[in-house]
Structures are given as structure tokens and as C-alpha cells.
């Protein structure tokens, strides 16, 4: 089959690799109809996630048709149309019982690697480094889906791939980011990053009752999408001196009630701040550039919540813990527990509350994945979200 392979830093190729097979009894094999490139794939692409091997199959947002099931899978049948959540979860451990699926205690066969970096291991993730399991990903023609009796959700034919594909990651991720803000009537929410996850965080914040949402980015086309499709107010951080000051002005001096970091470890800024973190990251004195996170903390109102859904990998520098402690801030974070949100969000799509396909700007064939990565990473042709079809 054809699969998108990581071939080193800033290099992906679509190569012929063997077809996947059932390896565990609760596996299913899915023939992929649609798959997407995620912003977090760019962290792999740019070489910021350790434990990648040349030839790793990428991709963790995918859906398709079940073509084979293991003997332990009773709820799926060949021919079912399913969306596959990116966290692999067993459904039986304490974390899964608590619906903390991305913390599944059984799905990372390389848990020891993650433990050495992070203390404990989260779940395994498709196509996302050996540290997170070493599972072949879904930017391919077929994928093996472990614990297929727990993760994949069946979707009816009435909805298109474009409408339901993002249940695999970015819609639930944005939704969880907003949910962690514990939104009360009148709340103003600020969202750093108007990429696809940021857009869904904005949309979800409104769904959960936010009064206003303010989006922060530097690309006018992304801010336009946030304003026109989601109804956010916008700040282009390259046009203001200080984001926290701008947010103060927009909120009567209070600051946003909650701040969502939908940027993560490769944040940009202008001026000295950016140079400082870029140099530290390049010299391996920090692994992540926490520029958006620092701003989110400094901007948040006293007693507010900082919700972190952007991906971080290792260690950061100049973390304003003094602000967090002295101003009673709450930080909530996590890889999305996608399985928890798939059914309710599928309902919202069915009801017509939201059509997630609004973020798609480019549809390419699987063979053109390298072009998709290039456009997405360089933000050329107003690229917001690339969907690949096999």
C-alpha cells in the first residue's frame, strides 16, 4: 500500500510499504477514505519530537471502511464506516474507566521510553513517534486499529467524510480546550492560535456559552476565518505592542476569564522574545518555545483558567510560575480524550449545530502528501487544513 513516511527532518515521502495485518485480537484493519495533516504532525516534520525513525508512517486523523476485524471485536463488521480517534485506548484500565482515554495504561508498548522522559506514560498514538508506541499512522491506504472495539465510532452515510473526519482529533481537541475553561455566563475567552484546533476551540467556546471569544494569530487569513466563520474578535499580534495589554483593553482591564493555548511548542512572536526562545531551542537549552503559553498566563484574569491543548514535548524556560501562584490561576491540559467526545459531537454535527468542514482549505490525493506538508508548514496559499483522500 501507499503510505506517507517520515524520512527525516522536513522530509516526507509517499512510499510503498506492506499492508497492515491483524496483530492483536481486538484489532481491525481500516481502508482509509480520508485522512488529514494535523498541526501536531508539523512538530514531527520539523524534528521537534524525539524517537522518530526514518520510514515511520505518519498520520493520526483518519477514517474509512472496516475491511477486517480480529476475533475479539464484536461491535464492528466488515463494511462499517468508522472515524478512528487518535489516542489508542484499551477501555478496561483505570484511566479508561475514568474516561481519560489519552492516559490509557495499556496502549503504549514503549511506555518505558515515555516514562523516562515524562515520569509516567500516556496512551499510544497513531503515527506519532516511538515514544508514543511506534504505531504506523493513517496517512496511508490502510491502517491497523488496535482496540477497535473501543475507539472507532460508526458514522451513517448521510454525513460526508469532510463533515465527520475531524471527530478523530481536532474538533474534540478544540472542544476539550473550551470545556476545560469551565465557561460561565458572561465569560470572555482568548484563544492563541487560529489554526484548525484554535478554530474549533473558538467555536466550542461559543457552544459552551462564552459571551465573547478573542483569537490571537499573525496570519490575516486565519484571523479572517476566526472572525467570519466562528464570530471571534481578533488580535494580530504582529500589529500590537503587547498582547496582554491589548487583551486588557478589550476586557475592561480584567483580562480574559480563560485563555486557551492552541499553539504549543513552536510558537512565534516578533522581536527579542522570539529570538531568545529560538536560540535556546536551537542550542537545545529548551525543547519547546512557550511564547504563547507565557502570554496566556500573563493575560489571564486573576483566578482564571489557562487551558493548554497545544502540544508540548519536553522542557521550557522562563515559565511564569509567580503569576500562576500569586494570581490563583488554574492550568488544565492534556491530549484530548477523544473517545469521550466522539458521540456527543457527532450528535452536534447531525443536529446541524456545526459543520466542521469549514476549516478545510485544501484537498489533495494521498500521493501529494509532501506538497500538503510543505504548504501547511509554510502557510502558503492560505493553507488552513489539508485533507488527503486515498
Amino acid at each position: 500500500m501507499k503510505a506517507t513516511c517520515w524520512m527525516g527532518k522536513k522530509k516526507v515521502e509517499v512510499r510503498d510499504v506492506p499492508d497492515p495485518k491483524i496483530l492483536n485480537s481486538r484489532d481491525a484493519i481500516v481502508r482509509i477514505t480520508s485522512t488529514a495533516i494535523c498541526g501536531s504532525d508539523l512538530h514531527l516534520y520539523n524534528g521537534f519530537v524525539p524517537s522518530m525513525e526514518k520510514g515511520d508512517v505518519l498520520g493520526h486523523e483518519f477514517m474509512g471502511e472496516v475491511v477486517e476485524v480480529g476475533r475479539g471485536v464484536k461491535n464492528l463488521q466488515v463494511g462499517d464506516r468508522v472515524v478512528v480517534p487518535f489516542p489508542i485506548a484499551c477501555g478496561h484500565c483505570n484511566a479508561c474507566n475514568a474516561q481519560m482515554y489519552s492516559l490509557c495504561e495499556n496502549s503504549n508498548p514503549n511506555a518505558w521510553m515515555a516514562e523516562s522522559l515524562w515520569g509516567h506514560s500516556p496512551c499510544g498514538i497513531f503515527g506519532y513517534s516511538h515514544l508514543l508506541g511506534g504505531f504506523a499512522g493513517g496517512q496511508a491506504e490502510y491502517a491497523r486499529v488496535p482496540f477497535a472495539d473501543v475507539g472507532p465510532v460508526k458514522v451513517d452515510d448521510g454525513l460526508s467524510d469532510d463533515q465527520v473526519l475531524f471527530l478523530s482529533d481536532i474538533f474534540p481537541t478544540g472542544y476539550m480546550g473550551a470545556e476545560m475553561c469551565d465557561i460561565k455566563p458572561g465569560d470572555v475567552i482568548a484563544v492563541w492560535g487560529a489554526g484548525p484546533v484554535g478554530q474549533f476551540a473558538i467555536a466550542s467556546a461559543f457552544m459552551l456559552g462564552a459571551e465573547r471569544v478573542i483569537a490571537i494569530d499573525r496570519f490575516p487569513y486565519r484571523l479572517r476565518m476566526a472572525r467570519e466563520k466562528c464570530g471571534a474578535e481578533v488580535i494580530n499580534y504582529e500589529e500590537v505592542d503587547s498582547v496582554p495589554e491589548a487583551l486588557k483593553e478589550l476586557t475592561g482591564g480584567r483580562g480574559p476569564d480563560a485563555c486557551i493555548d492552541a499553539v504549543g511548542l513552536e510558537a512565534h512572536a516578533h522581536g527579542v522574545k522570539f529570538a531568545y526562545d529560538k536560540v535556546k531551542q536551537m542550542t537545545r537549552m529548551e525543547t519547546d518555545r512557550p511564547i504563547a503559553l507565557r502570554e496566556a498566563i500573563m493575560s489571564c484574569r486573576n483566578g482564571g483558567t489557562v487551558s493548554v491543548i497545544g502540544v508540548y514535548g519536553g522542557f521550557i524556560d522562563k515559565f511564569p510560575m509567580g503569576a500562576v501562584m500569586n494570581r490563583s490561576l488554574t492550568i488544565k491540559t492534556g491530549q484530548c480524550h477523544v473517545q469521550r467526545y466522539m458521540q456527543p459531537l457527532l450528535e452536534r454535527i447531525r443536529n446541524g449545530d456545526i459543520d466542521p468542514s469549514f476549516v478545510i482549505t485544501h484537498r489533495l490525493r494521498l500521493e501529494d502528501a509532501p506538497k500538503g506538508y510543505d504548504m501547511f508548514v509554510h502557510k502558503t496559499d492560505q493553507c488552513e487544513k489539508v485533507v488527503l483522500s486515498a
Partner: protein
């Protein structure tokens, strides 16, 4: 009353109760079981004594290096401090002695330590004592020596006598160690001891029952090929040894308390002397069962033994960590989860592979 801790007041459980619940006696009784009927106490103390010999050799080695360096670098200062005055002769003698000290010191620090270097120090000590004696005697021949100088020389002599005693004792310890047959060479004979805990989301009865059938062990202890349960609490264990050869031994269950604890050990004369104990403790708040595993291996003597030791030693801690995780997976999900990267050994990309089928 009145002595209740806050925890006791709020949990209604005494510290003693909690200790018992968590500790379950597994650690202490394991050690008891360890010494029982194995004649292990003697070699252990002998080894401890040998270790002392090594430690002393190290201390003396560093002492020699320090003294030797001082003698070579600052012979004048040292000569004055032991009251023999400075002269070209005394300085060059001091330097020569320094080189001797350095040589003996390095010899003692090198591993494996041999008694020869400690004896070399004893000979050196004798030489020093002779020289000091000569210095003390020379005062009587009218050399201009002060009372202060004489008392310094006497103090130095006393110090050398003390160090000599240590050198002799160290040499004897090391000689005994040299004479030991290879089987007691501490490096290959040191027991490998590993402990690991994990919480399994299943009732304690289920977890105990699964482990109690020792035939299940190879399902999660991946270095084991098979465990066959024989009669009267005995079992036959087969594991993959070095070079694809199998290593086998018989073991017996030494303690079996339903839903609490299982302990086993290899029978005397086994190729790999080993013992294990697993305890099961209900995790608080319906979190399932805490499983505490403790294993100990004592590899056999000789070159084969050393290879086996390496085999078991190599990430012994990591291996048991993988094993208990696999145990949890088998109980919670029915099997061990594999990925494209872990289904085959060795580093390779996370890519499906037809060979894995």
C-alpha cells in the same frame, strides 16, 4: 487515646493496620525465606568481609596517591613537617619515596585488587620506618636537631606504624580474596535483586488466581519459555539462555497465602539460583489490586555463569518492569499489546511488515 494521628481519626484505620495492608509482610518475610535452609548466610558474611578488604585497599590507594604526590611536588615542606630538615639529599630521597608511594597507590586502586600491592606497601612501610629510625638515631651523633624536630619525627614514626598495621591487615584480606575459587568472585556472584509494583484493575482474587497457576508466567515473563507445574508444589522452569541454549531448573513454592502472597525459590543445585515473591494488596478506593513483585537471581559459577549473569543483569530492572506491565495487560485486556515498532526486535520504522504475521 489521644495518640491517634489525623489519618487515624479520619480514615478509622490505625497506622498499624495500614502498614499491614500495604506491606503485607512481603519484604521482611522474603528476606526470612531467603536465608531459610539455603546455607546462604555464610557466603554472604564472607563476601561482606571481602568487600571490606576492597574498601580498605581503595582508601589506602588514595592515601598513597595523595602522600606520593605531596612527596614529589613538595618534598621540602614534607621533610620539614616530619622534622628531618631540608637538604638536597633529603629532597631527592623524599621524591624517590614519593614515586614508590604513587606506584603502590595506583596498584591498589587498579581492579581487580591483588594482595601484592598491599604487600608492596608493607615493604615500603618497613623502609620508611628504617629511614625514620636512622633519623632519630642520628640526633645522638650531634646533628643540630631541635626538640621540636625530634618530636615531629617521633609522631611521623607513630603514624607509619599505624598505617603499616592497616597495610598488613588489608594485604591479608586481599590474599584471602585472591585465594578464593572463581565461584566466589564477587562480581559474577552478586545476587541480582529487582522489585517492581503495578496496579491491576481487577479484583484481588482474579489477580492471585492467575499468578497462582505458574504455567501462566511465560505469558507475561517473556524470558521464560515454559513453567510446568509438577506435584507437591514443585515446578519445572525453562528459559532461553545465552546462545540459544535453554537453562532449566526446578522450583518449589515456599509460601502460598490465598489472595495475599506467593513465594517460590529454585531447588538447591539449580543452574540459576533464584527466588521470587509476589504480594497482592487491594488498592484503595476500588482501584483494583496492587501487585508487588520481587525477584532475586544468583547466577552460577564460571564463565557460563558470567554470561548468564549478564543476560539476567542486562536491564534486569527494565525486564521486570516490562513483565509486570505485560501482566497487567494480559489481565486487563486479555493479551499483550504490540505496535509495528515493537512486534519485531531491533530498531526499525513503525511500518507494517509482512514478516510479522
Amino acid at each position: 487515646m489521644g495518640a491517634a494521628t489525623i489519618a487515624e481519626r479520619y480514615t478509622g484505620r490505625s497506622d498499624g493496620q495500614r502498614e499491614r495492608q500495604y506491606d503485607n509482610g512481603w519484604r521482611h518475610s522474603y528476606n526470612d525465606g531467603n536465608a531459610r535452609g539455603s546455607g546462604r548466610a555464610r557466603p554472604r558474611t564472607r563476601r561482606a568481609r571481602l568487600k571490606q578488604g576492597d574498601m580498605l585497599a581503595t582508601s589506602l590507594g588514595w592515601f598513597s596517591v595523595g602522600l606520593g604526590l605531596t612527596q614529589v611536588i613538595a618534598p621540602g615542606i614534607l621533610s620539614r613537617s616530619i622534622g628531618i630538615g631540608e637538604s638536597t639529599t633529603s629532597r631527592s630521597t623524599m621524591r624517590a619515596l614519593g614515586i614508590r608511594e604513587l606506584t603502590a597507590g595506583i596498584g591498589l586502586l587498579a581492579r581487580p585488587t591483588t594482595a601484592a600491592w598491599a604487600w608492596a606497601r608493607v615493604i615500603g612501610d618497613t623502609m620508611d620506618l628504617l629511614l625514620l629510625g636512622k633519623t632519630l638515631a642520628s640526633t645522638d651523633k650531634g646533628r643540630s636537631r631541635t626538640f621540636k624536630g625530634r618530636s615531629r619525627t617521633l609522631a611521623a614514626t607513630a603514624a607509619v606504624v599505624g598505617v603499616s598495621a592497616l597495610d598488613v591487615w588489608c594485604a591479608q584480606q586481599l590474599r584471602r580474596q585472591d585465594r578464593m575459587p572463581m565461584t566466589d568472585e564477587p562480581k559474577s556472584r552478586d545476587a541480582i535483586h529487582v522489585e517492581r509494583s503495578i496496579t491491576v484493575n481487577c479484583p484481588v482474587e482474579e489477580v492471585y488466581t492467575f499468578w497462582h497457576d505458574l504455567g501462566n508466567l511465560p505469558r507475561f515473563m517473556r524470558h521464560l519459555q515454559s513453567v510446568h507445574v509438577l506435584s507437591n508444589g514443585r515446578s519445572h522452569w525453562v528459559t532461553e539462555g545465552p546462545g540459544g541454549k535453554t537453562v532449566e531448573w526446578d522450583a518449589e513454592v515456599t509460601d502460598d497465602r490465598p489472595n495475599e502472597r506467593i513465594a517460590w525459590r529454585s531447588l538447591p543445585g539449580s543452574q540459576v539460583d533464584n527466588a521470587g515473591v509476589v504480594s497482592f494488596v487491594p488498592a484503595p478506593g476500588d482501584r483494583g489490586t496492587e501487585v508487588h513483585v520481587e525477584l532475586q537471581y544468583r547466577p552460577p559459577a564460571g564463565a557460563v555463569g558470567a554470561t548468564i549473569a549478564k543476560l539476567f543483569h542486562r536491564d534486569a530492572g527494565q525486564q521486570i518492569a516490562d513483565d509486570v506491565r505485560a501482566f497487567k495487560q494480559v489481565l486487563e485486556t486479555g493479551e499483550i499489546v504490540v505496535s509495528d515498532a515493537t512486534v519485531r526486535p531491533g530498531p526499525h520504522p513503525a511500518q507494517p511488515d509482512w514478516r510479522s504475521a
